[in-house]
Structure formats: C-alpha cells, structure tokens
Amino acid sequence: MPRRLRPNIPAATAAVCLALALAVSSAGCAGTDTGGASTASDERPRDEIVVSLGGEPEEGFDPITGWGRYGSPLFQSTLLARDNDLEIVNDLATGYEVSDDGLTWTVTIRHGVCFHDGEPLTAHDVAFTFNTAKESGSIVDLGAMESARAIDDATVVFTLSEPRSTFVVQLISLGIVPRHAYGPEYARSPVGSGPYRFVEWNPGQQLIVEAYEEYHGGAAEIERVTFVFMGEDATLAAARAGGLDVAAVPASLASQVIPGMRLVAVASVDNRGIMFPTLPDEGETTSDGAPIGNDVTYDVAIRRAINLAVDRDALVEGVLEGFGSPAFSVSDGLPWSNPDVVFDDGDAAAARALLDEAGWTESAGGIREKDGVSARFDLVYPADDLVRQSLALAVADQVRQIGVEMTPVGASWDEIRMAMHSDAVLFGWGSHDPTEMYNLHHGALAGREWWNPGFYRNPVIDAYMDQALAATSEEAALELWRKAQWDGVTGISGTADAPWCWLVNLDHCFFVADGLDIGPSRVQPHGHGWPITADITDWRWE
C-alpha cells in the first residue's frame, strides 16, 4: 500500500484557499473559462485520505433512488443545506419563497454552477430531478409534491397538493442530477455539481473520488478520498495496521487505543427510548390480530413516574461507557427541539410520591397495585441488538425501585410488530426531518405501519403539529413543533403526556488520524457513518 503524503498546510494556505474558492465560485463553467484560478490551484498542496464508514450504497449513487439522504451526496449538490448548527442555508438556491396558501414554492437558482462535465446547471435540471424522483418508486417520498416546473433558467416552481413545511427537507436532501446525462447507468457513473467527482467504484470494495476544482462552495481541501467498504472488525484491524484515516466504529469498540489515531465521538439524535401503549386493554385488536392497549401504561402517572425515575446519566455511563448523552425527546439538539422538555431525572422519591398520589399503592411483593391491577408489563426489545438489551435490563432495574416491574423480553421485529400496541417497546429513532415527530405522535396515524404504535392521541398536540406542517415559514413551523413538545400546559414531553420515555442519544464514534481535522461535526441522525461526510469539504490536514 503506497504511503500517503501528509504535508503540513501552513495557516497562510487556508487564506489562499479561501481566496481561491471565491475566485472559482465566481468563475464560469469549465471549458469556457479556466483562467488564472485553476493554474494557481495546481500549486496548492493536496493529498488524499482513506476512510471506512461502512454502509455501501449497493444501488449506486443516484439521488433519485435515495443516494445521499444522509450526509453529503458528495457528487451532487442540493438546493438548500444545513450548516453545522443545522440551520438551513442556501446551496444551489439563492433563496426560496412560499406562497401564502403554502401550495407554491418558488426557488431561485444561483448562476454559473456547472456539472462535472462542464455543462451549466439550470432550473430545468432541478425540475427534471424532482419530477423523475416522484415517479421513481424509491425511498424518496415526494407524495406531497404535484409537480416541479422551470420558469426560466434560474427559477423553479414546485406545486404541492397541500401545504407542507417539511417539504424543505426534500430541498435539503435531494441531490440535483443533470438532465442531459441521466440514464440507466447514472448510478454507477454519477455526474453532479457536488464537491467531489466520481473516479471509480468497485462494488463491495472501494469508492474513489477526487475534489472538483470548480465546486461552487469552494474546492475541497482533501484532493482524493477513498471509501473502503469493510465490516466492523476488518475496519478496526485496518485502522490498527495504519491503513485508514477515518474509521467508523461501534461504541463498544471505541475504548480501544489505536496508535496514531484519536477517538472522535460525535453527538447524535440516534436515540433510544421506550414507547408506551396509551390505550387501556379493552380486548381490541388491529386488523392483523395484534392486541391493543395496556392497563398499566395507560395510566399517565405510571408513564411520568418511569420518566422521572430513570437515571439517564447512569445509563450513559453504565451501558454506553460514556459515549452518549441523556435523551429527553425524539429530537434533542435539533432546531425544532424544545429545551423545556429537559427535567431532573433519576428522582425515585418524586416518582414514588407521584404514584402514591395516583393511587398506586405498594403491595406485599414490593410491586404497586391499583384497582386490582398490578404494575407489571413487558418491555420488548429487538433480540439481536446488544445495546438495547443492556438498556432494557438497566432501566428495568431502575424502575423496580419505585415498585414498577418491567420484564425485558427479547423478540424479532416480526414479533415486535405484533406486540407493539400492547407492550412497551424499546425503539430507536432520530432524523433531521420533523416529519418523524409528527408520525410518532399524531393521533390520526395511530397504529399505521410503525408509526404511533402506542395509539397516543391528544387533540391539542395534533393541532400544533398540523399547523406546523401547514406553516408557510420555517420559523413559524419550528415554533409550533416546539409547542407540541411542551406549550406550558401540555405536550409530548416526559413530564406531560409522556407517551415515550426517551433514554439516551448514542454518540457516533470514529477513529481519526492525528493531524486530520474533520471540523466541528453536527448532531448526526440515526445512521452511523455517512452523515460525518456532511461537511467533508472542510476536512483538512493540520
């Protein structure tokens, strides 16, 4: 294996780069104007890195079939983007406007952006991308969009079938493909306007990409990136052998020491929490025959008491070995998260008082009872997930202190599907799209697919979330999402309706070569690995 060069980049170079970036971004398309800028950039010190992040996209690199929804689409650029604080910023767009009825979104496209093949990127490519994605029958769900239409080269108009503030997430996540170069082979030889050009992909082995000099956001510092696709064990071994510069590892392996590399633990909303059935058991079943309701978790006092009694810091230390943070909502740290949902947990005394007040009296066996119902229920977790198993056992231990018995039960996803309307389930979520919060808590979605399996319903919350979806400005939507969590009176938080008891947010762990600066990473969504590439253009050798 050839050794990579790792020259030190003097501080002055950063300034040169910045100047260059500005020069390049204002330049025309490749082939039409390759003046002084590219000549100068040839002298820039460049080098390459090898990374193992797992998660090879087997279907290729076509955004229309779902590529790039986590992290950076790498080869393509998107209309909007999130910065490291997860604020929405322009990428290809220079701005967007939503009509008062929320049905028409007008996006203006910046001028002078080119695809890697030198062709200019226009509004026609944008409209083509969205319309093709809508028809593709893939993971890209554009159900709310009626059509996308380019008015001129720089303006595209999206027509929605109903107001949908979360449509902005599609503008953030869908990479724009070139109309002139899109076809069946596109996924295996992608052309876009993103920070990196496609060089080669050996499926099952590696992906090689090179920085795109004319990238409108400023050419990336790292000249060449190789993504190798290896399992967790092989990744760790390769890191040890000195073959990797960035290696994604599970938290269970993160406490190892690898010479020449440092551990970077990135905060995430990759959360784990307990879902409670909120209906009483009245013998109802779903159309599949799954029983609905649980007489214990139906009582909001039980749900609140568990939320109070759980010591989340102890879970982070004991189960995650410190690689995580306490979770109080499905969206901790995201722009639509409400900071008021955080409370003092691990308070067994308060939890006991709450249960006493609600009429759950302690019986001989130490398990509370109310009206002949014993405070016992099953806590189901996917049996193949070690972290969730440990969490289930630890939480069950903690709530036994307040006289509630949760019995951890390992099950397959098939069994969980049948049990989730009548037993508590340890789920994991976490997305950069507030739609997730809507789907988990909206009364109209109760029992539909995996959404809102606890049949939680609160008309006030439903109204907030409906208004949030219908909002025509991002600010208004964020405010309404926050209100749904806690509006001062009610909410989905652990001290209010408590349909969930959120436990922890996992840290995503990476070993990073000494001297490689991967910047201040943003709070990551559920997927481990690729999301770290979201700001790959800022990575550089120190």
């Binding site: 279907e59 290729g60 893939s138 993971i139 099952g204 090689i208 071994a237 539909r448």
Partner: protein, 328 residues
C-alpha cells in the same frame, strides 16, 4: 455413441429437476422468511416513508403480485434467459453475478489448486513414512486444520500477517485508493494470499487424510508386497503402483469439495472484505433480494453440479474399470 448420448440426457434431466427443485425451495424459503425487502430497503428511513410510497416501491419491484404468480413470472423470464434485476444493486442479476464471480473465481481457483496439490503431497508423504514422526506431525496438522473454523483462522492470519507483521494487506482485492487500471498483478497477488490460504485450508486436511489412508491400503496390497519382494524401492512402488489408485479418492474429494469451496468463499470474503459472489449472496439474503439470491442459487447449483460431473468423467479417464462397466 448411444451410450454417451443416453448418459448426457440422463445428466441433463437430473440437472433440470435439481434446478427446479432448488429454485422452488429457495423461493419458498425467502417467501416465508421474516425479511421484508421493502422494509430492508427503507431501513432507518421508515418513519419518513409513507405507506403509499411503500406500496409504490413494492409495485415497482412487482411484490404486489401473489407469490405463485411472481414465481411463475420469474420462471417464464428465466426460460428466455433473463435472470431479472437485482433489487439492491439495481442491475441485471446476470451482470452482478458475472462481475462478482470473476473475483471469486480467482480466489476459489487458487485455493482449490493449493488445497489439491498441497493435500495430495502431504497425504503421500504421510503414507510413505507412516508411523514416523513426520506422519504424526502431518496427521496432527490435518486434524487441527479440519477442526478449525475457516473464518476464525482467517481472522488469526489477518492479525498476524496484516496487523502485527504488516507484511500483507488488510483485505480488499486491490490496494485502497488505486484505480483498477493502475493495479499491478503483484498487488492483486498480495491481496489474494490470505483469503486464498484461508479458503484452501478447508480442503487440505480432507484430501491429505483420504490420500494417506488409500496409499497405506495400496502399500499393504499383494501387488505392492510382490513389487517390494522384487526389490523395487518404496518410492518406486508409490510412483508406479500407488499414484493411479490413490488419485481416485483424491479426485472425488477434490471435485466434491466444490460445494464446500463455495460455502467457504462466503466466509472468507466476509472476513477479508473481498468483493466476490459470496459477499453479494449474503447481502441478497439479508435484504430479501429474491432475484439475486435465486440467481446465485442457480449459479452455485450449476457450479457444484459441474464439479461432480467432472469427477464422474475423470473417473472414466483414470480408471479403465469404470469405463468397462459404464452403464448410463
């Protein structure tokens, strides 16, 4: 001439029924497995993909038809030589298999040759010096290998040669970051060593022990005793009287090992991140990619069947007795 034709027709009939049975069984197993391909594809996005969109994905993949019809459709297009399109790779199954098998073939071929040559040689040496320390050492070595899981041995080799000694690469089929046009044969060879060595281990013990036993029998036979009485050297006896007799069991074991080779390749490719057909088959199974899995099943069936067929044919070439009896 007729005998040969009848023989071939019989084999073809067996192959056809075997393929039909294996495909139907695999399809049925995939059907009753709890893996929902749409769910496997949607994965972590499951909170964001609406039921309507799921239905659209299922429709695009043809999963909305009843299973019997799906199988019939698949079989009909197979009859026209179309293996269908892989769900996870979004490419024709034949392309995926061709691409992946090219890598696997080099790996399996090397391992197979190594285990055959090495195993046969060890067996002959052990029999020649039976009862001595050499024999005991070889037998000990074979039994240890036979009871070693291949993936574990792979990890061990990886730790020693790639991590501690740093002599050989950490897996993959070519160096990271080098375009395939720029990869040299030496590079490929270096990347092949560990997986091929791991895979070859599966066959070595088997062949060595079979060969040893047969050769000991031969050396105790009347004609070997007679040859010895005539003053022929032990080595001469082995070359002139032993080899042909011993070749039979060795050939059987060697060609029958095609199935183990295929199974072992799946493990070795996982351990060494080697991009072969085994790796693709595992992905297909885990993500409910029925067309690709069935394609791989057909392919591996053909592969194993071919192995047995070659053994049959070689028998006739090596041993005149089978030729004389030869009923179809």
């Amino acid at each position: 001439m007729t005998a040969v034709l009848t023989y071939l027709a019989g084999k073809a009939f067996r192959l056809a029924t075997l393929l039909a049975a294996v495909c139907a069984l695999s399809f049925w197993l995939m059907h009753i497995s709890p893996i929902d391909p749409v769910q496997a594809y949607v994965g972590a996005e499951m909170m964001l993909v609406s039921p309507e969109q799921r239905a659209e994905i299922a429709e695009r993949w043809g999963l909305d038809e009843p299973p019997i019809e799906r199988f019939a459709l698949w079989a009909a297009s197979l009859a026209q030589g179309d293996l269908g399109t892989s769900l996870i790779y979004r490419q024709p199954v034949s392309t995926v298999i061709a691409e992946r098998f090219a890598a696997s073939l080099v790996l399996m071929g090397t391992a197979w040759t190594l285990s055959g040559v090495f195993g046969f040689a060890l067996g002959v040496i052990a029999a020649r010096y039976r009862g001595t320390l050499t024999d005991r050492a070889i037998r000990w070595y074979c039994l240890t290998l036979a009871s070693t899981p291949a993936f574990w041995l792979g990890l061990l080799l990886l730790m020693v040669f790639a991590v501690w000694l740093g002599l050989l690469p950490m897996g993959l089929a070519s160096p990271a970051g080098v375009r395939s046009d720029d990869v040299t044969w030496l590079d490929r060879l270096r990347h092949l060593v560990l997986p091929a060595l791991t895979l070859s281990v599966i066959g070595v013990a088997n062949i060595a022990l079979h060969t040893r036993q047969k050769l000991i029998d031969v050396l105790a036979s009347d004609y070997a005793v007679f040859a010895r009485a005539r003053g022929e050297s032990e080595t001469g006896i082995i070359i002139r009287h032993g080899m042909r007799n011993v070749a039979l069991p060795a050939l059987t074991v060697q060609f029958a090992s095609f199935s183990e080779l295929f199974g072992g390749a799946v493990l070795a490719e996982q351990v060494f991140s080697y991009p072969g057909l085994g790796q693709a088959t595992v992905q297909a199974g885990l993500q409910g990619d029925v067309p690709l899995l069935l394609g791989a099943v057909i392919f591996s069936t053909l592969f194993v069947f071919a192995g047995n067929l070659i053994a049959d044919v070689l028998y006739r070439a090596v041993d005149p007795r089978t030729r004389a009896e030869a009923p179809a």
